[in-house]
């Protein structure tokens, strides 16, 4: 398992939610390789499974969700050494499969190896403790964790200080655990994330912070344990655009400074372009196209990628009529998903071949460029195209006829002209 410098290798990851309606395949046999020190973006619309993927990696899936299958190999020689004895199968060279080690070991990695930041920073702070106290506590927990040798025993002991606790900030107001050193470190962290006057700010409560400041403080909290991998789930979505720019600058600077790896989850292709080295486009629980920024933005093959890019109104220069993707995100209910390309019901190029679920094919461009679409291997021909209503009317809302500019003339304006003064309620006939 060597040659590139991967820090994370996710194989065949499946995360399911067991709901009243049935089994939801939120993440479906997902593969992911993330190199040490890169910023990897996962972009997708709501329901694509991008956040569930992120949460699966850091083991934050709650019932009714469950990781049902897969391996998450993490490169950490030291961890590999300590785990080898107890679970030899979970180790391969310097890699450890996080899904085969004990939950306690997994938990111990949160904060020190993996950290996560979210869209909404309020969830990461306890409103009744000062920001400084909470950061100092985070520092303290990480100190203890790294002071303990990584034995399974020690892990279990420290579980009570786990990242999960920090995350929910249900931690007891336990100043007695916090040393002066941790307090100083907390202030350093606030300074690191660009909070002006950190000494003063450390003594304030979360509600005294603006949204942008609290976002910074959450980043400080996530950095307390000097994690190798930072998972950022829509970190700027709730922010105004000038504040978003500040936070992206900050993440960029911190990444350069610390060399940490970032897995960035976003719906915003602009944020991807600003931050990422490589990107995967997610749709219906799968990565449908991935590669370098150039591969995906300039050289994409998948009609969904094309549709996403065609949907964004341009800031510089008008781009005429937008070309949206028709229809809606599909149901991910297992019993409703067919074994075909999941995009076929919305794809303008759907063909007979697409009724077999396509694997990931290599595509032109960089070596990293792959695409889950038959168009990587053949070109579109009308002869093989599926008939227009192949998937039934239900899946193609009539509304999208208006996406075609030439459909809106004709009988409709007549309705307006006839329904002026004398005609009641806009009735035309």
């Amino acid at each position: 398992m060597t040659d590139t410098d991967d820090i994370l290798r996710v194989n065949d990851l499946s995360t399911r939610f067991f709901t009243e309606q049935g089994q939801v395949n939120a993440v479906d046999e997902l593969e992911l390789r993330i190199e040490r020190g890169e910023v990897f973006g996962i972009v997708g619309e709501s329901g694509s499974g991008k956040s569930v993927t992120a949460r699966s990696v850091i083991d934050l899936i709650d019932a009714p969700g469950e990781i049902t299958d897969g391996e998450i190999w993490f490169d950490d020689a030291e961890l590999a050494e300590t785990v080898r004895e107890d679970s030899p199968d979970a180790v391969d060279g310097s890699f450890v499969d996080l899904l085969s080690v004990s939950p306690a070991v997994r938990q111990s990695l949160r904060g020190t190896s993996f950290s996560m930041i979210f869209q909404d920073p309020e969830s990461s702070f306890n409103p009744s403790l000062t920001v400084g106290e909470q950061l100092a506590e985070a520092v303290e927990v990480q100190r203890r964790a790294s002071a303990n040798p990584r034995s399974t025993k020690a892990k279990t002991d420290s579980a009570e200080y786990s990242f999960g606790n920090l995350l929910l900030s249900t931690v007891l107001p336990s100043q007695q655990f916090v040393t002066e050193e941790s307090r100083e470190r907390a202030i350093e962290l606030l300074e690191l994330v660009g909070i002006p006057d950190p000494v003063e700010r450390a003594g304030e409560y979360p509600h005294e912070y603006s949204g942008g400041m609290l976002q910074r403080a959450m980043i400080a909290q996530a950095l307390a344990g000097e994690p190798d991998v930072l998972i950022a789930d829509e970190p700027t979505t709730a922010l105004d655009v000038t504040i978003q720019a500040q936070i992206l600058d900050l993440l960029d600077d911190l990444q350069t400074e610390t060399g940490m790896t970032i897995l960035l989850i976003t719906h915003n292709l602009g944020v991807v372009a600003r931050m990422c080295d490589r990107v995967g486009v997610m749709y219906a629980g799968e990565i449908v196209e991935r590669g370098t920024l150039e591969d995906v933005f300039d050289d994409h093959v998948h009609p969904y990628t094309e549709g996403l890019l065609g949907s964004i109104p341009e800031l510089e220069g008008a781009n005429g009529q937008l070309e949206p993707i028709g229809g809606n995100v599909p149901s991910l209910l297992d019993h409703e998903m067919e074994d075909r390309c999941h995009f076929a019901d919305r794809c303008p190029m759907a063909m007979e071949d697409c009724l077999d679920h396509p694997p990931e094919f290599d595509a032109t461009g960089s070596e990293a460029h792959t695409v889950r679409c038959v168009l990587a291997t053949r070109s579109y021909t009308e002869r093989d195209a599926l008939p227009p209503n192949y998937f039934g009317d239900e899946e193609r809302p009539a509304g999208d006829k208006h996406a075609e500019p030439d459909r809106s003339d004709g009988e409709q304006p007549a309705e307006r002209t006839q329904t002026t003064i004398s005609d009641a309620g806009g009735e035309s006939r």
Partner: protein, 412 residues
């Protein structure tokens, strides 16, 4: 949207969908907003008054003026708290203004009564980000779209139902979904329903308040296209309120940029986006990450700091606390960058971001009545600078700093 007095007065023109706006002579704007103000009062409850707390004005909208011409789309763009939504609601008279006037088709909206007001309520409609937040979730979408027709008593029953079917079809929903409930629809479909409802009374003017902000980008594109089609088809005039500059650019003819309750720049979209004049407009445009591969190399100047509170907006230019281009007063012989830093310090002291009590070591300075003894001023300034600037300023600037900062100190 509609009030009871509409119901009372509308029977007079039942079946007549006329618009007061149609009387507008050529060249006159459909909507004219003059010096519109909307303040909200905090600490204004009886209890607050008993406790002697002074009411605090939140200057949500503070003197905006603009015109919207028939058939055009004016964009109102700005960050949260800039007052753009309040402007939209106030000009529709969904909120009473604090001051200023709004004319619709030449008539003052705030003086309308009776059939004029009813006609205005028909002619001017609104689409919100979530069209159902204010509606009964137990209404079917057929009822929801038909409700305005019922309230305004337009047409006979069968005609209303026919009209609802036409509308739903027009916005791209199928007629057999008429009896379903809002929660059964996706975000994009719900927004289509909201649009159908807004169109039911054949309005001339629509305020679109963040109509696509809750939608995924592919669905947003569908709705934007629909709005464009409908505008062309029904000669609609739009006021589009959005925080999304790309959406504004795509849809609008002209755009007004708001900051802290004021319009800082207004102009044709091409001009304003191509050659923004106001430093805030520039910064706003530069802040948007572009979805292109050269985004990482793009030169961008981002704004520092947060938007100040509209409870206590900065004196003078409201943007001065963040403006990268702020100009030093003539009598100060100081370069622009240094002045920017000094302004930032002053702002931070004024906003009590920096507490003067904590300058210097423990108890090095005693702050009494918000001021420090004259004799301590030079060392105080030195300590403050030490704390705030990474690089010490050249000695030449000491005197300047002293002047500006000591005024600030005295004011605190």
């Amino acid at each position: 949207m509609s009030s009871d007095d509409n119901r009372a007065t509308s029977s007079a023109d039942a079946g007549l969908v006329t618009g007061i706006g149609t009387d507008t002579p050529d060249g006159e704007p459909l909507v004219r907003v003059e010096n519109l103000k909307k303040y909200f009062w905090e600490n204004d409850s009886l209890l607050d008054r008993l406790l002697g707390d002074e009411p605090v004005a939140v200057q949500a909208v503070d003197g905006v003026s603009f015109e919207i011409h028939e058939g055009e789309t004016l964009g109102l763009v700005g960050e949260s708290g800039c007052g753009k939504s309040t402007t939209g609601e106030t000009l529709l008279r969904l909120q009473e203004p604090t001051d200023g006037r709004v004319e619709f088709g030449g008539t003052n909206v705030y003086e309308m009564a009776g059939s004029d007001l009813t006609a205005f309520r028909r002619d001017a409609q609104v689409v919100f980000q979530d069209p159902f937040s204010s509606l009964d979730p137990r209404m079917t979408i057929g009822d929801i779209v038909q409700q305005p027709l019922d309230i305004h008593d337009v047409g006979a029953d069968e005609e209303r139902r026919e009209r609802v079917r036409d509308l739903l079809e027009r916005v791209g929903l199928s007629v057999n979904q008429l009896d379903r409930y809002p929660h059964e629809f996706s975000g994009g479909q719900r927004q289509r329903i909201g649009i159908a409802r807004a169109l039911a009374l054949e309005p001339e003017f629509l305020v679109l308040d963040e109509p696509t902000s809750a939608l995924d980008v592919s669905v947003q594109a569908q709705v934007l296209n629909l709005l464009e089609d409908l505008q062309a088809e029904f000669d609609l005039t739009y006021l589009l309120i959005s925080h999304d500059l790309s959406v504004i650019r795509h849809i609008c003819d002209r755009v007004a940029v708001m900051y802290l309750g004021e319009i800082v720049e207004i102009g044709p979209v091409e001009e304003l986006f191509g050659d923004p004049k106001h430093p805030y407009t520039k910064a706003l445009l530069e802040s948007v990450p572009r979805a292109t591969t050269d985004e990482r190399e793009r030169d961008r100047e981002t704004l520092a700091g947060d938007v100040p509170s509209p409870r206590d907006p900065p004196s003078g230019c409201r943007f001065r606390t963040r403006c990268p281009a702020v100009i030093p007063p003539e009598e100060l012989d100081i370069d622009q960058e240094t002045y920017r830093e000094l302004m930032t310090v002053r702002e931070r002291i004024e906003s009590r971001d920096i507490s003067l009590e904590t300058v210097g070591g423990d108890d090095q300075f005693t702050v009494e009545d918000g001021s420090i003894p004259e004799a301590d001023v030079p060392s105080f300034v030195a300590a403050l600078k030490h704390r705030l600037f990474d690089d010490p300023l050249p000695p030449h600037h000491d005197e300047m700093c002293l002047r500006i900062e000591s005024t600030a100190v005295n004011r605190v």
